[in-house]
Symmetry: none
Subunit: 437 residues, 2 copies
């Protein structure tokens, strides 16, 4: 079964609102094992809506239309669809009563437009809206209607009309639509996510090239976030058990090839969460000393519920004086090497770890721009130091992009370096400090 989404609304075409409905519906199709190849947005224009609906009915089994069910003259989705199929629109008495009741309860007068929201194409299934006035509509096309779009009777498509407001659409989907559609799909799609940090997308793509190209039952697709690459592994099968069985060895293979760069195989786990879990698992407390990132590393760590057990305090030491006074960076080091240097960032990490008696400390100092760069120390140069139980690692980075991008990259890199240093610390403890290991 294939589905496609048509979002109706001039406000989306004008960029006034971001189309979150399309993303929501996409995840719901995936959950139901319904493939989806197209999403379209069109304005409140009868001719263009008709054109898009016709095209979609010709190429997909299910067309989900969101928007255009409201009370204004702009809202014409039902009218266009009914006309296209040659079905009459009748007032649904239950929906009409519901709408009237809504206005009565609020002591407001119902406008004549609102009754349009109770108009339903004949022979359609009505889907209640518990969060708004416009009911949803499901239409199974007849053999004759299907033929109009080049489809046979066995293959007759369906149209589902849903309201545009996201909270109404999602509530309706969860309450009724998901259950209705489940009956139509015989198959299940199962997908899992492998999240990788500290590797470029191109590097991951090369290492997984054969898996990505493979046209078997399991598909592998990487995509990049700042500092991370997420690889989605998807399989289709008759039931979830079989689909999982297909996905499992591929996940294992990816983990084998990418080793410690894989920080989680859980969809919901963020990079900061994997770092916090690593700290918690080893009973390590943590602190931060930030210059150009100005609190954003701490901000991400504190995203994680339960972090209070290991994170007590953090420091934004933006000025040289703050670096000296609060976390004990040496005046001499600042003078000799400058605030953005390997030496200073090392002293920041050591100092803040000592001051707060934390097991792990991360420190960042860099030139985020747009000003402050020199030939020797250009904008984008960032030093990060991580101390794990007294062992300090310092790395320099050269980020591109504007101030926000440099800072975002610095935060991601700091989290990645923390994770790497903690893992290395424990692997040394286990295997001995052998460079050839």
């Amino acid at each position: 079964m294939t589905a496609e989404t048509l979002c109706v609304g001039t406000e989306i075409l004008l960029g006034n609102i971001i189309n979150t409905n399309a993303a929501y519906l996409a995840t719901q199709y995936a959950k139901l094992g319904i493939a989806s190849y197209y999403q379209t947005v069109v304005g409140d224009n009868a001719q263009r809506i008709r054109e898009c609906v016709s095209q979609a009915l010709g190429r997909s089994d299910l067309l989900v239309v969101s928007g255009g069910l409201g009370p204004t003259q702009d809202d014409i989705t039902k009218e266009v669809v009914a006309e296209l199929l040659g079905r009459k629109l009748n007032v649904d008495e239950t929906s009409a009563k519901r709408i009237k009741l809504y206005f009565d309860r609020r002591g407001k007068k119902m406008s004549s437009n609102n009754i349009r929201q109770a108009l339903i194409p004949e022979d359609a299934r009505i889907i209640d809206n518990n969060n708004g006035l416009a009911p949803g509509v499901l239409i199974n096309l007849s053999a004759k209607e299907a033929a109009q779009f080049g489809k046979s009777a066995d293959n007759a498509p369906m149209i589902l009309l849903l309201p545009g407001p996201p909270e109404e659409l999602t509530a309706m989907w969860e309450a009724e639509v998901a259950g209705i559609l489940q009956k139509y799909t015989g198959q299940v799609i199962y997908s899992a996510m492998v999240k990788i940090c500290g590797r470029a997308e191109s590097e991951v793509a090369e290492l997984l090239d054969d898996l990505i190209r493979s046209e078997g039952d399991v598909s592998v697709a990487p995509y990049a976030k700042t500092g991370e690459v997420h690889v989605r592994v998807t399989a289709r099968a008759e039931d979830e058990k079989d689909a999982k069985k297909l996905v499992k060895p591929v996940i294992k293979e990816i983990k084998n090839r990418l080793g410690d760069s894989v920080f989680t195989t859980h969809e919901e786990t963020s990079l900061e969460q994997s770092v916090v879990e690593l700290l918690l698992a080893n009973g390590l407390t943590v602190t931060t000393a930030e210059s150009c990132t100005g609190g954003l590393i701490a901000g991400r760590l504190i995203n994680v519920p339960g972090v209070s057990e290991i994170f007590k305090s953090g420091y934004i030491t933006y000025s040289n004086k703050a670096k000296r006074k609060i976390i004990g960076v040496k005046r001499k080091s600042l003078e000799k090497y400058g605030a953005v240097s390997a030496q200073v960032v090392r002293e920041m990490a050591e100092g803040v770890a000592a001051y707060t008696k934390s097991d792990v400390a991360v420190a960042v100092s860099g030139i985020a721009g747009p000003d402050g760069g020199t030939a020797e120390k250009p904008v984008g140069l960032v030093y990060i130091a991580v101390s794990v139980c007294g062992q300090v690692t310092v790395k320099d980075y050269h980020f591109s992009g504007n101030r926000a991008k440099v800072r975002e990259s610095s935060v991601a890199s700091a989290l990645i370096l923390m994770r790497q240093c903690i893992l290395e610390y424990y692997s040394r403890l286990t295997f001995g400090d052998n460079e050839n290991e």
Copy 2:
């Protein structure tokens, strides 16, 4: 001139990412006076990309394609477009050098895939990417190519290929694309932005109702962000001077109605920037003491270039001990009122201002959830204190949503309260501390 957007990427169809590019491009078309009737999303599939490109070229003057310019096997946009038009793909030496340099600088090996990013269809215009490796491409279709899509030579469409990562796409648009397209549109659209903080969207909409409904030459459209409402005022005219003349009195009227709630009429000015400018203008230094926001307020202040003049250090005092030891919150207050209380947040602001000798201090303590809420102090309860030259204001807030949302609302509210307290401090100095003023 009409434009349409085609976003290529299976990750959008799977709902893994929300399609913000389509919304961004939509606002940019509007700015240039270009009408747009369709947005489409399609996966990384050659046949379907070809189908969508062909359809769009037949009905629009400009097709903007985002995504599919990356280094992986999934990235096939250029190949499909070149094949469809019958143009060769050649390696652009400048782009190739740029890519090589990128890897050299980082001491990394360039994968063979990366060179694909330098492939450009012949006779196309290259648009530099200063934030990533994939250059953009602009193709003016020849008469023969146009005929293929039912278009005459006078009416030959253009294709613009842009990278998928939003920061690359937007930077490229601003640096080069907007300028190129402006030449093709005869009309000028001028739009200005009024940014408002501390008022609900419904309140703003009600105060500006007549302006929003007006169908004159100037359109007024509000939309909401966390803690802010942005009102876009747009006019279309034959030249910029005339358009500006139409916009100016409307901006003035909005400022009259909304008073101090307007924090800027500059498109690019963020809330944190308006706060930092207010601090700089009054020669005030600033510091932060954050609990549940964990560094994010400082993080936003440090977004602003030049903040180093007034921001020396900030503190994340997540534990009670950190609140006592670092910024001098009284043990008795923590015991009697709890860490999330008006008294404690007041002491945090006073303490951190005194400790750092700052003129302005902001402190936050709240329950971001998901755990830690009680009947008396539910999740979403947040106290914010602002001290301006020793005068402390404390407010309590009740936010809804998950942990991330509560924290985001807290950060915005802290910035708004800072701004308000500074303005009030100086208006008191000017007008005397008269409650009836």
